[in-house]
């Protein structure tokens, strides 16, 4: 069985190599090919020392970690209520979360411009209330707008594994703790949180991976000062036709991302934590 098995792998593997690994190899090759076709580390030296790259790297990590933190907190609170303080519409909420995962991320960015943009609903309300002539709310065009949009879009990715983990938790534990006089916060800290750790780790690392690579939200919000690694790749390759510079940034971005993915797989296999379905970037 195992001997003949390899024959059947050849066809899909060949397709995969041609459409994925071959292009990946060319990103690497192009990143070392400087002006005039010289092969060497010059493109890296130039890009890695540029303030554009350093700023983008820092901003990307900052946005991704703050967004992930926000998703973990919001996702934990929401999943906690859905699971342990159930109400009639809880199933609808779970279904809604499942569908949310299938939507494109730029939907949230678009909604944010209508809600908090300079001609958005909340600015009308604020101007009506205060009598100001200039729109007072402008966080949408800063990194905070991107972070809030990413928290909105990626929280369901954390909630899913959490809801799965909570549904496995033996409610008798909570009943016992409660009847022995433990207060809700103590039950959450000492009974529920330890059970949720694998799901939080799995959901959190997935969230970090996806926010690190998020493109649609950043592109649609279009804030001038908010440049992330995927935006640099797009700008260099498409707007400046500088493939080499784009490829250098892509190598860094892919390395970061694959490293995080390895961590995610490791956490899942170690803890058997919540199965989360990764969706788009």
């Amino acid at each position: 069985m195992a001997r003949t098995g390899w024959v059947w792998v050849v066809v899909p593997l060949t397709v995969l190599v041609v459409i994925f690994y071959y292009p990946l190899f060319f990103i690497l090759r192009q990143s070392f090919t400087g002006e005039g076709g010289h092969v060497g580390l010059a493109p890296y030296a130039e890009m890695l020392s540029s303030s554009l790259f350093r700023g983008a790297l820092l901003r990307t990590i900052q946005i991704a970690s703050l967004s992930t933190l926000g998703c973990l907190v919001l996702g934990f609170v929401l999943a906690l209520i859905v699971s342990f303080v159930p109400f009639p519409g809880a199933r609808v909420v779970s279904g809604f979360i499942g569908t949310f995962l299938a939507f494109p991320s730029f939907l949230i960015a678009l909604a944010f411009t209508f809600l908090y943009g300079s001609a958005g609903v909340f600015n009308f309300i604020a101007m009506d209330l205060s009598g100001a002539t200039q729109p007072p709310i402008d966080f949408v065009y800063t990194k905070w707008g991107v972070i809030l949009a990413e928290i909105t879009f990626y929280t369901p990715f954390v909630m899913r594994p959490l809801l799965a983990a909570f549904s496995q938790l033996d409610t008798a534990l909570i009943e016992v703790a409660s009847s022995l006089g433990a207060r809700p916060l103590r039950i959450i800290r000492e009974v529920i949180l330890p059970e949720a750790v694998p799901a939080l780790l799995a959901g959190g690392s997935l969230c970090l991976l996806l926010t690190l690579n998020e493109f649609g939200i950043v592109l649609f919000i279009g804030a001038k000062g908010v440049i992330t690694l995927p935006m640099v790749i797009y700008g260099k390759a498409i707007q400046e036709f500088d493939y080499t510079a784009g490829c250098v940034v892509a190598v860094v971005n892919i390395a970061l991302s694959v490293g995080l993915y390895a961590l995610y797989r490791f956490l899942i296999s170690r803890t058997g934590g919540g199965r989360a379905v990764a969706v788009q970037g």
Partner: protein, 265 residues
């Protein structure tokens, strides 16, 4: 019960709705409202109209819609064939081989979509593959991005499959091809349908890789929506976004219907 007193339960529900409705509900409502807003110069939109949808269609939206649908369907079908084939083949390997090849097939999940697009752009602009500027390069980008999901989804379905059906079929003299097409694949239908729905939804909303590789003649809906909002036609963009969401939802609902029916068989 976590919260024994009724007051604290009601408090928790209130907290839930205060968080959930504005965070997840409001964005969808506001994009929906914008898509039919004739004017929006105050807190609420006024002069509700279908003009934005109409305007979008008068320009390019019709073509973009067909382009997105074609891309989604073709990419999903190709990804499903490759993904299912790979999942079946990997299952037949020994443990270590299965692990290595399986990792190769899921790794595209970890690569940012913009980089996938850049790789295709660089690699397929030179012989032997000259695909830059064709619709094919967009299709390939979508196939790369969704095949990993098809593979993991079908692999998970295979792992849950009770092994004895196939063993019984084989022991009764069923040839491998017969067992595959008459036993394994029919049992796998719910997973296949779910994978197809997921692939289609992802492809419909894909932006990062598409925007790197698309030629002028093959503009998908998300790229078209970005072009509209970028030049300030945000209401037309909202109208097309709503159209995109409705289409995605229709397919997802249809898929879950088929899936329920298949699992009852």
């Amino acid at each position: 019960m976590l919260l024994p007193s009724r007051v604290s339960r009601v408090g928790a529900w209130a907290l839930f709705f205060v968080l959930f409705v504005p965070v997840f509900g409001l964005p969808i409502v506001v994009v929906g409202a914008a898509s039919i807003a004739g004017q929006w110069n105050d807190v609420l939109p006024s002069h509700l109209t279908l003009r934005h949808l109409h305007d979008a269609f008068v320009s390019n939206a019709g073509v973009e819609l067909v382009t997105s649908l074609a891309t989604g369907v073709i990419a999903s079908v190709v990804a499903l064939v490759i993904g299912t084939w790979a999942a079946l083949a990997v299952r037949a390997l020994r443990r270590r081989g299965a692990k290595v090849i399986g990792t190769l097939f899921v790794l595209p999940i970890a690569v940012p979509s913009v980089s996938v697009g850049l790789g295709l752009l660089v690699a397929f602009s030179r012989p032997p593959f000259l695909l830059n500027g064709t619709a094919t390069i967009v299709l390939i980008a979508h196939v790369v991005l969704v095949t990993a999901f098809a593979f993991s989804s079908v692999s998970a379905g295979l792992a849950r499959l009770p092994a004895h059906y196939e063993q019984v079929a084989a022991s009764l003299g069923g040839r491998p091809a017969y067992v595959l097409f008459r036993v394994t694949l029919p049992l796998l239908t719910p997973s296949l349908v779910a994978a197809a729905g997921l692939c289609f939804a992802l492809s419909m909303g894909e932006l990062g890789a598409t925007i790197m590789v698309y030629p002028p003649g093959w503009v998908t809906l998300p790229v078209g929506i970005f072009a509209l909002t970028d030049r300030g036609a945000v209401f037309d963009g909202a109208a097309l976004t709503v159209l995109l969401l409705v289409l995605t939802l229709v397919v997802l609902v249809a898929v879950s219907r088929i899936r329920t029916r298949a699992s009852y068989r």
